[in-house]
Structure formats: C-alpha cells, structure tokens
Subunit: 340 residues, 2 copies
C-alpha cells in the first residue's frame, strides 16, 4: 500500500524529499481564487458552497502539486454552527455578536450543528474525490481558546481583555465555554474524517496571548481533551497541533496534549525545532515575508530549514498563513527548491 | 552605603522583599495623570515638558511607593530627535512619515539630536532630584528593531511587512538603519545616565515578530552593540533588556547581548523564568489582565510568581504595560501583597 508523503512524515518517517503544503495555500494571492471569490457572495457563503469551496481547495494542488490539500473553510464555522451570528467585513475581519455572560454560552446540539455544517462535510467529500492517492486531505478546526476569543471579543482583538478577564474572574463559566467548544470541535472533526479527511489540524492562532495559567486551562487542557476523544473515535488519524506564538511553552504543549505533530511558527529557532523533532514530527516554519521577498533571501531561508530538519520526520510549510501580496511565482520557486 | 532595593536586585542579590515597579506606572489608569495629560496639549508636548513629565513620573511613586521611577517619555523620541515627524492620534497610535528607501535614513548628528532631546534630559534631572535614595531612577529607549518598525511602517503594524521585506531584500541598507539607531540610542542613554538615570532599559516590544535570522540581525546584534558601548562609558550602570515575545529565543538574547537583567513577558512560564534567573536577574511577569481582574485571581498569580522567583535576584513587575482600565486600588493591593 502506498501512503502519501504527508502521511508517511506524520507516521515518523524521514523522507528524502519532505512533503510540502502552505497555510492559506488557497487564498487571495492566486488569481484563480480571486475569480471564484468575486462570484461567491460573502465569505461565509463561499465556505458553505461545496462546489466553490472544493474548487478553491483544489486550485493550489493543480497549480503547484502540493503534497496536501486543506479544506477551504474558516475557524469560525464552529461558532456559526453553534448558532452565533457571523460576518466578514472587508478590512475589519470577522464580526460576531459577542457573548457577554455565561447564560449566553450556546448549547452544543449535535443535530442542528451538523445540519448547519453539512455543506462543509460535503466539501470534504468532493475534495477527496478530486485528489489522487499521493495527495493527503487535511481537515481542520480552530482550537477552543482561539475560537472563544472571537466569540467573547466579538471579533479580532489586540489584548484579549474580555476573554482573559472572564477566565480570571469566572473560571467555572470559562470552563463551560471550553467544554462546549471541545464537544463541538470533536463532533466537527469526526464528521470531516468520516467525509474523507485523513489528517486534522487544530489552529490555536492566539495561543501566544495566553499567560501560563490560562495556557494550561485554555490551550493545553481543551486540546488534550480533543486529541484524546478523537483518538478513541479514529485511532489512526494524525492530529497536527499549531499553538502559534507559544514559544517557550511549545514543548509542554506537545507532550501534554499528545498531538501527533507540531506545526511551528517562524519565531521558533531551528535548534529548538530540532529538539522538538526528536519527540514528534514537526512542520514549518518559513517566514511568509521571506516568501514575499523571494530571491536570495528565500533560497537561504529554505536551505537553512531543510538542513536543520529534513533529516527527520518533517513537513515543509510556512510559520503562518501565506499573505495576499505573495507573488505566485515565488511559491513555484519555493516548491522547486524544496523538491531539489 | 545604602543602595536601593532595585539596584541590589540588579547586582544579583536575592532580597527578602523583592523590589517592585510597573511598566507604564505613570499612565492613564491614574486620575492625577489624566489631569496633567488634559492640560499638556499633545502627547509629544508632554514628553518635552520637563515640569509636567517629571510630575507624572513622580505621581505613582507618591501614591504607591514603588522601588523605581521610570522616566516618562516614549520610545519614538529617538526618531523625533533624528528629525522625523511624529504625532499621536487618539485611538490610532503613533503616526510617522515612513522611510521608504535607504537614502531617507536620517544621519545621526549628535548636536541637533541632543538639542532636540534636551528637555528629556532635564526631566531626568528633575525626577532624580525629587526622589529619595531608596528609589532608583530608570532611563529607557526603544531597541533598534522596534523603533525601526515604526520608522519604516509609519506607525503600528500587525505584520511588519515593510520592515521585514527591507531586511530580507536589502540587508546592507537595513544594517545602515540599525547602525544609525544604535548610535542614536547609545547617545540618548548616555545623556540620560549623565542626567541621573541609574539603570537603563531597552524596550524591544516587537522582538517577537522577528523570525530567527532577523532576530539575530535586528534584535541581538544591535542590542549587543548598545550594551557593549554603554558599558565602556558607564561600567556600573545595569541594563535591563526586554525582548517582548521572544519566547524560546529569550535565553539566547540574554547571553548574546550581555544585558544585566531580563524583563520577561507573561508568555514566559515560571519554570523557564527560574532557569533564566540562574544566569542573571529577572523581572516580571504578571499578566496585566490579572491586575485588572483583581481578587483571588490576582492573589494567586502574585503568590505563584513570588514562590518561583523571590528566592533569587528578582524584580516584581508586569509582563507588559499596565492597561488604562486597571483599578488603582488593585495596584495598591498588588504592592501590599508583594511586600507581604
């Protein structure tokens, strides 16, 4: 049986050529994405259109032959499935009706949740049907801490004041919110796996904003619960954990949550990445701005990363999502360099 | 000779009661600060009024008896002294005319620079004259990477795209910018020390945005140069380095720059803080939101930090600046708890 390079790396294998995919590889830097986006209506509509979402998921695979496709969706589809309002305003990011007290925490009702998110599961099926066996399909969800930050702050935040104050002042209510998101996330990823996702990734984009005690209560514990419950349902499905900005807490995050592999942001130095790789596969961590820069700076950074990490179980990726101003030809140059 | 508790801790002494001061302790959470601010005109005017700047510097010392006063000023006074335009707009933060090419990098002319910043040095003298010997006076500057980010981006940034692209595409020009800021910063801190500052602190607020190679070129090297040149001028003056968000790179930052002490943000777990403390004094790292929360959460966090760090050379502080919504009585409770 042939397994895709991504699954082999996640199983602990060091490949001669590491698999490569990029966060936000389906995105605004691609003209073919912008063409679909323009005719899709709102961003949420695009996420809920299986035909269009599958198409944009597949676009970068066709163009670059990445080793993995990742479901085109958004981490805020979980609050949306829980019945919270959600819209995306140009230049302002997501806007949700904020939860201001414990009584407003939504109840996870599997029937209505899965009915609302059925188009996402259909997207997964369509994408899987459109991929060859060599290309892995990654499902994903936002991790509870990060998703909660948007639900409580009502959108993006610079200081996470409302979320943190809630966690400090009402630990029990904060725990209810985390438990609800754990339940919903497990259900959501379970259905993605049933629909054809072969790997799942948990995006904790704002893990770096959590000081130690809240990192334990908001990042580590809920993530560990999700990993454990998914493992009971799907023992062979790898989980990639991305605690962005976790810095010095990254190693503890890996061992305490039991994620299969660690996605590393660009702030993790390569010596530390090597040490982490001794314990589990790692993924990362090219600075997205080095990809925008291109040329010598890009080549030097790619080589430095490969030299440090390609001897062990490794997946080449960025340290954060690709940015809209990235020239598509720089992505082609990156793929060519990684594949030698 | 009696030395202030802050200077004793910085000299490596473990005190029974650790010294305490708070970043942004002179600030909008204090009604007496808001009263001065309202009559000062613009924010830059306040920084350049020795009488008013000295008054707001001293206000929190009078109210709480902190172990250190820190010059009231702004990290962008260095670009201002270099002749760059600067204003602060309510809600938008600082606005500078951005430097878009290498030819626009200002030349450091000591005469005009020190003439422009003479009011800052006079503020330092006035504050020192207003303090008892038990209270240390801290001077400060922004570190080159952080100051450059504002100069190049024209203000606050979320992704530091312009700065990073410059550093990747034109390493030599980026080096000229760093060298200029090193020269200006050494001159600026030298004059603050001559005026009465007994400690200086380098604020690298955006160190966490620098991936490994730029952390080396933008954070470590310029900081090491400043530390080395200041040590030649003022061998007994301690330097506190604050590489906010540096996470896993914090230890390397300490050893490669030679700063006397490390200020730690709230993302550094206490076990790591202890390990760092074995090499040099540490300062930190209460989450400012725990101070806003107050009550049990505040007490628990304070006790946890004291238990971990008070046995070695330690300065109690926040992990980031105090926020405007902080109740002043929570600050009093914090000081009382630290002083037991």
């Amino acid at each position: 049986m042939t397994r895709s390079p991504l699954l082999r790396a996640l199983a602990g294998e060091a490949l001669d050529t590491p698999p490569i995919w990029l966060m936000r590889q389906a995105g605004r830097y691609l003209p073919e994405y912008r063409a679909i986006r323009a005719k899709a209506g709102g961003f949420v509509d695009l996420c809920l259109s299986p035909e269009l979402a599958a198409e944009v998921t597949l676009q970068p695979i066709r163009r670059y032959g990445f080793d993995a496709a990742i479901l085109f969706s958004d981490i805020l589809m979980v609050p949306w499935g829980l019945g919270r309002s959600l819209r995306f305003d140009e230049g302002r990011g997501p806007i949700l009706e904020p939860i201001v007290e414990r009584s407003e925490i939504p109840v996870f009702d599997p029937d209505s949740f899965h009915a609302a998110l059925a188009p996402v599961y259909e997207t997964v099926s369509r994408v899987r049907a459109g991929l060859g066996p060599e290309t892995a399909l990654i499902g994903f969800a936002g991790a509870p801490w990060t998703v909660a930050s948007y639900m409580v702050e009502g959108g993006s935040s610079r200081d996470f004041a409302t979320l943190k104050l809630w966690a400090y002042r009402d630990p029990e209510g904060f725990g209810v919110l985390m438990d609800t998101l754990v339940d919903a996330t497990v259900g959501y990823l379970d259905r993605q796996i049933q629909a054809g996702a072969q790997v799942v990734k948990l995006f904790d984009s704002w893990a770096g904003a959590a000081p130690e005690v809240l990192f334990e209560r908001g990042v580590v514990r809920p993530t560990a619960a999700i990993v454990q419950r998914l493992a009971a349902l799907h023992p062979t499905i790898p989980v990639i954990g991305f605690a962005r900005g976790a810095g010095a807490q990254t190693r503890a995050y890996g061992s305490a949550t039991g994620v299969t592999a660690l996605a590393l942001d660009s702030g993790i130095p390569l010596a530390m990445a090597c040490a982490l790789q001794a314990e589990r596969p790692v993924q990362g961590n090219l600075d997205p701005m080095a990809l925008v820069a291109g040329g010598d700076a890009l080549a030097m950074e790619v080589d430095r990363i490969l030299e440090a990490l390609a001897g062990g179980p490794f997946i080449f990726n960025l340290g954060h999502g690709i940015v809209p101003q990235t020239p598509p030809e720089h992505v082609a140059a990156l793929v060519a360099r990684v594949r030698g």
